[in-house]
């Protein structure tokens, strides 16, 4: 299935801003996070088609996954 992955802020470095990527059916958000080697402890907002999701959410063909790093400084 094709998934559009959008990365934000520091997650773009050495990766990409936006890419259409191929994944096997049933791939979860967490598997994509792992595959992209994004640090799990620095995950901020994670959305599929503009809705906030848990990491065990299974992706469907044609969906857009957006991942922001955790920003917490003051």
């Amino acid at each position: 299935m094709r998934i559009t992955v959008k990365l934000f802020a520091t997650f773009r470095a050495k990766r990409f801003d936006i890419e259409s990527r191929e994944y096997p059916d049933g791939t979860t958000v967490e598997q994509i996070v792992d595959e992209l080697e994004l640090p799990m402890e620095k995950l901020g907002i994670v959305m599929v088609n503009s809705r906030h999701v848990d990491l065990d959410r299974e992706m469907n063909d044609g969906e857009t996954l957006a991942i922001f790093p955790l920003v917490g400084g003051g």
């Binding site: 520091t10 906030h52 955790l70 920003v71 917490g72 003051g74």
Partner: protein, 272 residues
């Protein structure tokens, strides 16, 4: 003997009272500058220092801001700018909460830090700075950390709270206490080139949604640090939200988060 009201009417230029006459009134009637400012605004006059606000805020609205009480939790990067802007805006009562003293690594960005304030409590520096820029503002310094235990006391009588802390745990506590006390909360966070802002009304639990994947520890600010400009940008957006919340103006950032990327100059709105 003239009353305060007749003194003010006599010395008004149009409907403006100059700082000089505000000072003179305080001395003559043995009142605090805050008491005189309250009387000026109650008489539908305007302290001249706010004359450039009046294209956007009426004298009644300026009076409402003066009668408002805002708590700023954290007086570092975000909090320093927020305090400065709230005082210049004319918020009458400000509670400044922070347990820390200034250290050298604060000097690159924290507005209230100078070589001369190193080692000084951040809330003490806040009191001094606000007394310099707007002596009619009453500032209550609290040299302590915000916790769920002291939160109720700290936020008593407060109309709006500004989240300017530097830990996710403290932010979640702050949201819970504000929600229980039915106080709107303006949230801002920064890391390097990046930041975000959101306004939370009681019961919306926006920060719980925003930090739902948080597992403990810091965000990317741990690696990136923070420069001079990101806190100023995010703090200014927070202050604009406070002004709107207090006066019921415009469209606040409710149930949405504005994310800022100053490196690529990208602003993205995230629904919450």
């Amino acid at each position: 003997m003239a009353t305060l009201d007749s003194f003010l009417q006599e010395h008004a230029a149009g409907d403006l009272i100059s700082w000089q006459h505000q000072l003179a009134a305080a001395e003559r009637f043995a009142l605090s500058l805050a008491e005189v400012e309250a009387a000026i605004l109650a008489a539908d006059l305007l302290p001249a220092r706010y004359q450039r606000n009046r294209g956007m805020l009426s004298t009644q609205q300026q009076g409402q801001l003066f009668r408002s009480r805002v708590a700023v939790i954290g007086c570092g990067g975000l909090g320093g700018y927020v305090l400065e802007e709230l005082a210049r805006l004319g918020i009458g009562q400000i509670v400044a909460v922070d347990a820390d003293v200034f250290e050298e690594h604060n000097l690159n960005r924290q507005l209230l830090s100078t070589p001369g304030t190193l080692g000084q409590a951040k809330v003490e520096a806040a009191v001094q700075r606000l007394a310099e820029i707007n002596p009619a503002v009453v500032v209550k310094p609290v040299k302590d950390q915000f916790t769920r235990a002291n939160g109720r006391d700290l936020l008593g009588g407060v109309d709006c709270v500004v989240d300017a802390v530097d830990s996710v745990a403290a932010r979640l506590d702050l949201e819970a206490v504000c929600s229980a006390l039915r106080i709107p909360l303006v949230h801002g966070a920064i890391a390097g080139w990046y930041g975000h802002v959101a306004t939370v009304y009681p019961g919306e639990d926006t920060l719980q949604k925003l930090y739902r994947h948080w597992t403990g520890g810091k965000g990317i600010e741990q690696q990136l640090g923070n420069p001079s400009f990101t806190p100023a940008v995010v703090a200014s957006l927070e202050t604009a939200e406070v002004c709107k919340v207090l006066l019921g103006l415009g469209v606040p950032l409710r149930n949405r988060q504005l994310t800022l990327n100053l490196l690529d100059m990208e602003v993205v709105e995230v629904p919450l």
